[in-house]
């Protein structure tokens, strides 16, 4: 009686294993030399997909033996999706990679080192925006070719600015400091309007009944505050890590960061910025579109989502000057790809002026190649948008700082976000919350 049961169990196990293997083996088999190769390419920005489809078509026309299938999923799902596929050995051959994520992937041997290919093909890396290409090198190994970059600037509602009697030309030289907020805070206050039509500078201003906030608030952004506060903190002299890239100690206990975050959270208390719990998850765009906020700092990747009532201004000048975070994306090759040569060909094409010019025409992002970025600028101009704020900031060698590249990025994000949110919700102040979380963060690197 025992034997049949055990056999049954074994059969079941075998069957289920077979079923699982059958599911996993859905990908393409090993092709013969002259057979058609299909490469999968993953990205997260739906606004860029049409432009990259054009690149894929151009690539296919030049290499009829290679098909490109593009898959897209939102930023939140992208990394979960990618990692589970990496674990299953079924990852896309080539994928868009982020500075905060690639160290982890490289450490676990999931990315193909393309240093040798770059050297063999004698690629000229000086065509890219300065500094971008080398961000993808760790210990002599290269893990990606730059595709685009982004900076932060201010977007404002032109009608509300005009109504408040502010001349947008003043934005070219406006200042900011963490004590009283400088010109920037004055502008924010002027743009804040309560139910009786009084602005934020009026002594009778009622902060419990705000109709239009001067500054919109985007939730999240705890650890790096890319679009929210990184530029303020940096222009006050804050530096994220002991060195970048590949720092091993964070400086969240810096008093300069604490005073910046306390100033930022203070805007909520003054009624100039919506309470954190009322900022919502739908993003700042619906709020701005509905006229409930007049201004916000935002990344250049959002440019095309702003309607004609909006214009861009440079970030204010802080005690240490004007500083913007600059971040670059790259295309990486999956170490387990079955088509290494074809994948390299595709990455080389993605990093070439031919493809990046096509991206420039779509005016969705700024391509990494400087000549292509100029084309994107022209495309924006043709569409009636002045985006020079983003480009001028990137061109200033003293005006940019890099997105912090470290290990443990996802864990740092979770820890710091909780501390940051408690400050923004008014449950703690940055002077105590940030040093406490900094200890926890640095323990990750022990």
């Amino acid at each position: 009686m025992k034997t049949p049961r055990r056999t049954l169990f074994a059969t079941m196990l075998t069957l289920s294993t077979l079923a699982v293997t059958a599911c996993g083996g859905g990908g393409s088999g090993t092709p013969a030399a002259d057979e058609k190769v299909t490469l999968t390419y993953a990205l997260w920005d739906d606004k860029q997909q049409p432009a990259y489809q054009k690149c894929a078509d151009a690539f296919h026309a030049a290499n009829p033996g290679i098909d490109i299938t593009i898959t897209q999923s939102g930023w939140d799902q992208y990394w979960t999706d990618l990692t589970t596929k990496l674990a299953a050995g079924d990852a896309p051959d080539v994928f868009t990679d982020h500075l905060s994520r690639y160290p982890e992937l490289a450490k676990n041997n999931q990315l193909l080192d393309i240093q040798q290919d770059v050297a063999n093909d004698k690629l000229d890396l000086s065509i890219y925006q300065k500094g971008l290409a080398d961000l993808w090198v760790r210990d002599g190994k290269r893990y990606g070719l730059p595709k685009d970059w982004d900076t932060i600037a201010v977007v404002y509602n032109t009608k509300q600015v005009a109504k408040a009697g502010i001349d947008p030309k003043e934005f070219a030289t406006w200042t900011w400091n963490p004590t009283d907020g400088g010109d920037f805070e004055k502008t924010v206050a002027k743009l804040t309007i309560d139910g009786q039509g009084r602005n934020g500078l009026d002594p009778a201003f009622d902060k419990t009944d705000v109709k239009t906030y001067g500054l919109a608030l985007e939730t999240g952004g705890g650890a790096y505050g890319q679009g929210q506060w990184s530029h303020f903190a940096a222009s006050d002299g804050f530096v994220f890590t002991d060195k970048n890239p590949f720092g091993s100690r964070y400086n969240y206990d810096d008093p300069k960061l604490a005073e910046t975050i306390d100033w930022y959270a203070g805007l909520i208390k003054k009624g100039y910025m919506p309470p954190y719990d009322q900022a919502g998850k739908l993003g700042v765009t619906p709020m701005m579109e509905a006229g409930k906020a007049a201004m916000v700092t935002t990344g250049s990747w959002t440019i095309s989502s702003w309607g004609e009532d909006f214009a861009f201004a440079p970030l204010p000048i802080g005690p240490q000057g004007r500083k913007t975070m600059i971040n670059g994306l790259a295309d990486s090759i999956y170490a387990g790809t079955k088509h290494k040569d074809e994948a390299w060909k595709w990455v080389r094409f993605l990093g070439s002026a031919e493809c990046q010019d096509l991206i420039a025409d779509s005016a969705a992002v700024f391509p990494a190649i400087t000549s292509s970025a100029d084309k994107a600028l022209a495309a924006h101009k043709a569409a009636g948008r002045d985006v020079s704020a983003f480009v001028d900031e990137a061109a200033d060698p003293q005006g940019t700082f890099l997105y912090p590249i470290t290990d443990n990025a996802a864990k740092v994000e979770q820890l710091v976000l909780a501390a940051y949110e408690s400050v923004m919700l008014g449950k703690a102040d940055a002077r105590t919350a940030l040093p406490a979380v900094n200890t926890e963060v640095n323990n990750l690197f022990q």
Binding site: M1, P4, L8, F9, M12, L13, L15, S16, A19, V20, W79, T80, T83, T84, L86, A87, E104, L105, N108, N109, Q110, T219, P274, P275, Y276, D277, Q278, A279, G280, K281, L282, P286, M287, A290, K292, A410, K411, Q414, L417, A418, E421, S422, L425, K427
Partner: protein, 310 residues
């Protein structure tokens, strides 16, 4: 449905009585019929559980091979305040969700049983339950949004102040619990309604002749006789409620701070965004132990509640 579930123990007893001759005669055929369920059980429950148990003793990030760390993960779990907070948040959710859901469902079931016989209305009550969870979560996230949501708009019109709902640290988990109460109340009501069909109608007739009102009949006839079904419904909704994940994942993602970081979402975050599979598995093992204890307790309570009809 409730009736079938209750009848199941009886069926099992009959099968066991037939003894070895039954196995010799029909065993093979029975196995063929059982195979689909057993294969599914092995592939999707047994194997993952055993693997999870193994991962819980390792340091495993999905991409490199697991490294054995013994009981290290368990020690960390015990001193992880986010874990304990997640258990507390889940507890608040379960209590609020099950309590409101059961009370409202009982009310709805009585209304369906005593007031209307309309199939239309019975079907309508089920509608929210037929919509996928993610859709419901998105729907409510938009409805409750502070700036563009309908609910806050109405509240402002009638002179109330705006509420953060999902994104307010004090309201977050209760809002999520209410959304799921709204979704499940019809289904729970239907289960209770089915249970009410087992109560003989002549009891109500007798009650009416004796001059009892609806309220008294509810308290002294419906409620006592419904007890076994009510107990079953409680068990089912308690376990279901404990598994809260999708609404949180779609709306708050655990925030603000940790106000809605329920245990399943925390496990998911550890496993799939921070890739600490070992740690996440250790938390899951804790959860298994906890849920098994809870279920045993409930089973005991359920067995004790034999019907007062007999």
């Amino acid at each position: 449905m409730a009736a079938t579930l209750l009848a199941r123990p009886l069926g099992r007893r009959t099968a066991r009585r037939s003894g070895s001759s039954w196995q010799r005669g029909h065993g093979r055929i029975a196995l063929v019929f059982l195979a689909p369920a057993l294969i599914g059980f092995a592939a999707f429950y047994l194997v993952p559980t055993v693997r999870g148990l193994w991962f819980s003793f390792t340091d495993y990030n999905l991409l490199s091979d697991p490294k054995v760390v013994g009981l290290g993960n368990y020690g960390e779990v015990l001193s992880d305040r986010v874990f304990w907070n997640a258990l507390k948040v889940t507890g608040v959710y379960v209590v609020f969700n099950v309590a409101t859901q059961t009370v409202l469902a009982l009310g709805l079931a009585v209304l369906m049983e005593r007031l209307t016989r309309s199939v239309m209305i019975r079907a309508m009550v089920l509608l929210p339950w037929l919509v996928p969870n993610v859709t419901i979560a998105l729907l409510w996230m938009w409805l409750l949004d502070v700036n563009v949501g309908f609910v806050n708009h109405v509240m402002e019109q009638i002179g109330l102040s705006k509420q953060g709902f999902l994104f307010s640290p004090d309201q977050s988990i209760l809002t999520i619990a209410s959304i799921n109460t709204w979704r499940h109340v019809g289904y729970t009501a239907l289960l209770l309604f089915a249970g009410m069909q087992l109560i003989p109608k002549h009891l109500y007739e007798a009650g009416r002749i004796d001059g009892a009102g609806e309220g008294r009949m509810f308290r002294q006839i419906t409620l006592p006789l419904l007890r076994p079904v009510l107990a079953l419904v409680l068990v089912v909704s308690l376990i279901g409620s404990f598994q809260i994940f999708d609404t949180v994942a779609v709306t708050t993602e655990g925030g603000p701070v940790n106000a809605s970081r329920v245990i399943y979402y925390y496990i998911y975050e550890k496993a799939f965004t921070q890739f600490e599979f070992g740690y996440a598995s250790a938390m899951s093992v804790f959860l298994i132990v906890f849920l098994v204890a809870l279920t045993l307790l409930q089973m005991r309570l359920l067995r004790a509640s034999t019907s007062d009809l007999a």
